[in-house]
Amino acid sequence: MTTTSTALPHDEADQRPSESQMAIVLRRFRKHKIAMISIGVLAFFLLLAILAPYIAPYPRDTPNLAGRTLPPFSVDRDGGFHLLGTDHLGRDYLTRLLYASRTSLGTAIFATVIASSIGIVLGMLAGYFGGWVDIAISRTLEVVASFPTLPILLILSSVAVQNINAIPIPGFLNAFMSWAFAVTERESRIIFMIIVVLALLGWTGTCRLMRGMVLSVRENVYIESSRALGASNIRIMARHVFPNALPPMIVDFTLSVNGFLVAESAISVLGFGIQDPTPTWGNMVNFAQSFMFQHPWMPLIPTMPILLCSMAVNYIGDGLRDALDPHQRA
């Protein structure tokens, strides 16, 4: 009998292609039909948002008092065709809608990025270190989460809108924002402040979720196994905890985009938030309110993209959740 380990039964070399967990998740996601359609819907609106300045048929802000509140498919006195009609100032509705998709989706995405970053970092620290770090972060979170969100949003946004220099914004950042949203620097200041306000109130859910995930991931034996190899906290957090806590955060991210999209629309509909002349889906609905009965298409048209994008993002979130669910993994 040999005692060297070469006498061990070696497993046969197997030539199946290796499949990472991400690949499995993608394969499963592709089976989710509604989610795939939703991706198409969202991509469509994102494309419109990106291409808005190039495909918009008219200038964004030029009023035409002679051709106000024209219905869809009408031609104004100058012979200009308006696919979706014009608004109360005679501006082309389609043009406004295209630019609005840029503002609305952009605001939601930027707010989500900021809020998720705050939430993920704080949640990670709270969950991983526990003790005083956890207590400090969790108490702050509870205070922020118990603010009555909508009134606070309204107050903060109205302050921010009336005093656009309330928050100092570095020049380069504002320049970037104005480029990203295709608006003037004055408008981008307001957009930026709305984003900040939304994000500062909107990180708590993500933080709570991340903290919970980290608490459970932290208990895994492979974390301990790395510690036994001498790994530092930073390495363990970056290499093992973060990647394993991430999947539900991806779902959370999509749902946050939806939340911020709706929140921005809500404050805009109430007349706060981003102001004319910057169009957003929400403030377009707001202006259309007064014409609801005479010109029902006016509130209806900007409502559709809010509805479609919100549903699409929700379904994508659902699809991702199913695809990432470890219980379904065979």
């Binding site: 061990l8 070399a13 034996v221 196994s225 990647p243």
Partner: protein, 328 residues
């Protein structure tokens, strides 16, 4: 215990680990679980010391406390005469190269999101050993040693069976060229036919690399198979420690005797005396006074409930904590 230290790789003296139980609104300590309560033993270079006991006896906590995965309450752990429990974090990192662990659950002990190659190489990366190329070379070598194919280096843990994963876990420890490996129930999650593969592997690696094992398990047959000496734990204390032959042939502590007799014998023709202990293991929060085993012991006498028996060398190399050791 006075010992010649050159012979001993690891010496554990009066190790204690108490877990506080938090309760009430203010989360203050309302009690303690005495998971490990004064355990002393030594592990010789190149030997396998088995540690057996039922769930909750503190065997796993003992192993984890030795490696400082759990902060000890008190006591001393000397690894090559260096006190592990007092080591600074830098000294500890260095010590970790020499002291490794293999975990019970092969499904939970590998990070599902990194490849097997990365997983096995992790220790080298942490300690900054070698270039990426050299590391990969080492990983291939070590994978071959544990009976896995080098072509599997880029696969993910979910593509492997339990037995293969446990080999990956062993490879992870082995690549550090450790002196001591704490094997915490390394085969109890595996099927019988896979269990023997892993046990043989552990034994062959020990011979090839001169490894020392602290082998923690609840399965007595497995412990008997792999160990040179065996310690039996009950409710946070070591109740008996002896060479494998002595312990299984002639147990001195009544608990050990009952434990051995309780194992179902895979031989339907054998009819042997069976001692069925009554009752459950008492809670380690309020362990019985005196000898902790006395409420379940069939040879207990009044003194057993009053006086905690000393863990003493009853025969040469055969230690037991019982007032009436061997008097069955």
């Amino acid at each position: 215990m006075a010992v010649a230290n050159t012979e001993h790789l690891l010496e554990v003296n009066n190790l204690k680990k108490y877990f506080p139980i938090k309760g009430g609104i203010l989360r203050h300590t309302v009690g303690t679980v005495k998971a490990v309560d004064g355990v002393s033993f030594t592990v010789r270079r190149g030997e396998t010391l088995g540690l057996v006991g039922e769930s909750g006896c503190g065997k796993t906590t003992t192993g984890r406390t030795i490696l400082r995965l759990e902060q000890a309450t008190s006591g001393e752990v000397l690894f090559e005469d260096k006190d592990v429990l007092k080591a600074s974090s830098r000294q500890m990192k260095a010590l970790r190269r020499d002291m490794q662990i293999v975990f019970q659950d092969p499904y939970a002990s590998l990070d599902p999101r990194i490849t097997v190659g990365q997983s096995v190489a992790e220790g080298l990366v942490i300690h900054g050993i070698g270039t990426p190329k050299e590391r990969e070379e080492r990983v291939r070598e070590v994978l071959a040693k544990v009976g896995l194919h080098a072509s599997q280096i880029n696969r993910f843990p979910h593509e492997f069976s339990g037995g293969q994963r446990q080999r990956i876990g062993i490879a992870r420890a082995l690549i550090m060229e450790p002196k001591l490996i704490v094997c915490d129930e390394p085969v109890s999650a595996l099927d019988v036919s896979i269990q023997s593969q892993v046990l043989n592997l552990l034994r062959n690696l020990q011979r090839e690399f001169g490894l020392t094992y602290l082998f923690i398990a609840h399965n007595l047959s497995v412990v008997e198979h792999i160990s040179d000496r065996v310690g039996v734990m009950y409710l946070g204390k070591l109740v008996e420690l002896a060479s494998r032959e002595d312990l299984f042939r002639e147990p001195l502590h009544p608990y050990t005797k009952a434990l051995i007799s309780a194992i179902p014998n895979p031989d339907p023709t054998a009819r042997r005396e069976r001692i069925v202990l009554q009752g459950d293991v008492p809670s380690p929060i309020n362990p019985p006074a005196g000898c902790r085993f006395h409420p379940r012991c069939w040879i207990a006498r009044p003194i057993c409930s009053e006086q905690d028996p000393e863990f003493a060398e009853k025969r040469k190399g055969h230690w037991a904590a019982c007032h009436f050791a061997g008097e069955f």
